[in-house]
């Protein structure tokens, strides 16, 4: 595909993404009769992500489309900005996120919490990824790569969970158990 053809395809993708996002914004701003706009917008956006797979490559096309879709969405959002008076109003606070939970300060709980989010979470996530690579069916490269992708996702999930969950001993038991079971299962079988 030449540069001009690629650029043309991108213009068509943007041609679907901008009105698609605009329709979603229209649905969002209406008090009644949202559904047609919402469905039209979602359909147009889905189509704008899917058709490039056929023209630009089954992986390359959708990745190009979602990248352009994000940029198009920002354009639509930025075009509808509202400028508020300099003084903060009480009403403005309604749009704010709730206050984070307050926890009684405790050194050992804080240390354990961050240990779970950090090294213990990492060991548990690696154990999960390694045991997937060892036990899952398929080609060795596929198992290793998917096992590798599991590691940051599982570690990130463990971080989000342990830093939020107040039942910290439960989290400790789950992560330590996962690490032991994961590495144990991997060592038991070996890589085939």
């Amino acid at each position: 595909m030449t540069g001009a053809e690629l650029l043309g395809a991108m213009v068509v993708i943007l041609g679907g993404a901008v009105p698609g996002t605009w329709m979603l914004r229209r649905a969002w701003s209406l008090k009644a009769g949202k559904a047609p706009w919402r469905w039209a917008g979602l359909t147009l956006l889905s189509f704008s992500i899917l058709w490039p797979a056929w023209l630009l490559g089954e992986a390359r096309g959708p990745f190009i489309a979602v990248t352009l879709l994000s940029v198009a969405a920002f354009g639509v959002i930025a075009s509808g900005y509202t400028l508020r008076p300099a003084k903060a109003s009480r009403a403005a606070r309604e749009g704010l996120a709730p206050e984070p939970a307050e926890r009684a300060p405790s050194v050992w709980r804080t240390t354990l919490r961050w240990s779970l989010a950090g090294p213990i979470g990492m060991v548990a996530a690696v154990a999960l990824g390694v045991s997937y690579a060892v036990w899952a069916p398929g080609e060795p490269q596929t198992r290793l790569l998917i096992g590798g992708l599991i590691v940051p996702v599982a570690w990130g999930g463990a971080m989000a969970w342990t830093l939020a969950d107040s039942r910290i001993l439960r989290a400790t038991a789950v992560l330590v158990g996962t690490a032991i079971a994961g590495f144990g299962a991997a060592m038991l079988r070996g890589f085939a």
């Binding site: 490559g57 390359r60 940029v71 008076p85 300099a86 690696v126 596929t142 790569l145 998917i146 999930g157």
Partner: protein, 500 residues
């Protein structure tokens, strides 16, 4: 009449508050490193353009003949001080239209040369700025394994923040299109933070997941090696890379590449739009010499490189076609492209640059929200406000100073010192200046220096390549934009003073 107890929807207010606590803590712990990694990543998307910017005088070409490559390779080898371990020859491409030859000597030294279309070495490549920038993004200029791990850890923290950010955002649909500027600082920052976070989520997930996997690969491979290969990580690498030729260290004349180019051409004659991407010559002065060719097959696949490896006799001992890639090999071949936005030409690189700046803003804005919340609660943290303003505006200034220094030196070490000195100076200025002034100094300084870099580059390096003009123009425009925001801030400040 029975009274139905209304169940709280998902996520419950308690869950939102608990997750928000974790999101806030994690964001604060990693904010500075995430900001730096995302900012440098957004700029590093244009690494190829910056390499051209640093070498505007290099002769541009679409292809180079095998004879010319052979001549350049022999000259580059002759210039090496001792025995040569490997030679990496990167062929001209649309993004970087000249060939380079990197010679890795046995004593660990590495020299990269640029050649012209006749195969003459025209000089050592200038890549101080590009190397400084990309290494800052990849390993923060720390010892390689530690630096890469820390950046990978930051990728995991970002991924975790995206998960917790979504869970902690109960108004995700209700606020989907709100962008309320002015008025409450906290609301403005929250709107920007949430809109950027949600609408660019596919990009954020792609960049953080691929970055985290690349950063943690050593740990993961080490763990697999430990768990199932008795600690032998080479066995894990061997699953992915082409096999090495049989070891034979007896001395021999340099490996002749011309016949190998012909063999590659024979094997790929059916492919109309093939292109040799690069080749690696291993132990060129030994009997056990070998050459591995990576050839783009011209398909629309992300991982589209065929591999051909030949030994000294010209025997093909390894061949792998991209069309035969399994899922794992496709993912592996796509990771770098997806992480840096090198899969859809200039438009996607620009989109990645903008979205990368958005990601850096997520890190910066998160801390701004936390500081504004403290101020709203009557517990301001003026010291932290200053440090954060110095960090956010100090980094663009420090990076621009390093770019300016790169016009006069190729030494990466000098650029690191320049960047570090400016970063520390801005942090030191927190003892004297309030956050608003630090922001103004950083903004105006970056704007002025960007314009200076663009102008100085034209004078010092010349205008041999059209891409360098585009880069200089973009730098100048960004500089003017920053100066314009600085100017508008000053006029608002004056009007406020007058009104008072």
């Amino acid at each position: 009449m029975t009274k139905m107890k209304k169940r709280a929807g998902f996520p419950s207010p308690d869950l939102v508050r608990a997750v928000l606590k974790g999101h806030s803590g994690l964001g604060l712990a990693f904010a500075a490193i995430l900001y730096l990694v995302c900012l440098t990543g957004a700029i590093a998307v244009f690494a190829n353009e910056f390499q051209r910017w640093e070498n505007p005088g290099a002769e541009r070409m679409e292809t180079i003949s095998a004879n010319a490559v052979q001549a350049a390779y022999r000259t580059a080898m002759d210039r090496a001080d001792g025995p040569v371990e490997h030679v990496l020859i990167v062929m001209p491409s649309e993004d970087r239209p000249w060939p380079t030859l990197r010679v890795d000597a046995e004593d660990g030294t590495r020299t990269t040369w640029i050649a012209d279309s006749a195969g003459r070495i025209t000089g050592e490549i200038r890549e101080g700025w590009t190397k400084f920038l990309t290494r800052l993004h990849i390993n923060l200029h720390l010892p390689q394994s530690w630096g890469i791990f820390i950046v990978g850890l930051a990728g995991v923290a970002l991924l975790s923040s995206l998960i917790s950010g979504l869970l902690a955002h109960p108004r995700i649909f209700r606020d989907a299109f709100h962008l309320r500027l002015g008025g409450s600082r906290r609301l403005q920052e929250a709107d920007l933070h949430n809109r950027i976070g949600v609408w660019a989520l596919p990009f954020h997930l792609t960049a953080s997941l691929t970055g985290a996997l690349l950063g943690l690969s050593t740990v993961i491979i080490g763990a697999i090696g430990f768990a199932v290969f008795n600690g032998d990580t080479d066995k894990v690498y061997a699953i992915f890379v082409a096999p090495h030729p049989a070891e034979d260290a007896r001395p021999a004349p340099p490996l002749d590449l011309r016949s190998l180019f012909s063999k590659v051409a024979e094997r790929t004659s059916a492919q109309t739009s093939k292109r040799i991407d690069y080749l690696i010559v291993e132990h060129p002065m030994e009997q056990g010499a070998a050459a591995l060719f990576e050839v783009e097959d011209g398909s629309s696949r992300l991982a589209s490189a065929d591999s051909y490896a030949f030994d000294r006799t010209g025997k093909l001992y390894y061949e792998h076609k991209a069309a035969d890639n399994n899922v794992g090999q496709q993912i592996l071949g796509s990771l770098g492209l997806l992480h840096f936005g090198w899969f859809g030409g200039g438009a996607i690189r620009i989109a990645y640059g903008l979205l990368g700046i958005g990601l850096a803003y997520l890190a910066a804005g998160g801390v701004n929200i936390w500081l504004a919340r403290r101020r709203d609660k009557g517990q301001p943290a003026p010291g932290l406000e200053r440090v954060w303003a110095a960090t956010v505006w100090g980094q663009p200034l420090a990076l621009t100073c390093a770019a300016l220094a790169a016009l006069f030196t190729s030494s990466v070490a000098l650029l690191i010192w320049t960047w570090a000195a400016v970063s520390i100076a801005l942090l030191g200025a927190t003892a004297l200046l309030p956050p608003a002034m630090l922001s103004r100094v950083g903004r105006a300084g970056t704007g002025l220096l960007l314009i200076t870099v663009a102008a100085a580059h034209l004078v010092v390096m010349g205008t041999g390549d059209s891409v360098t003009l585009i880069v200089d123009g973009a730098l100048g425009m960004i500089g003017l934009g920053l100066l314009a925001t600085f100017g508008s801030q000053i006029s608002v400040f004056r009007r406020t003073l007058k009104a008072a």
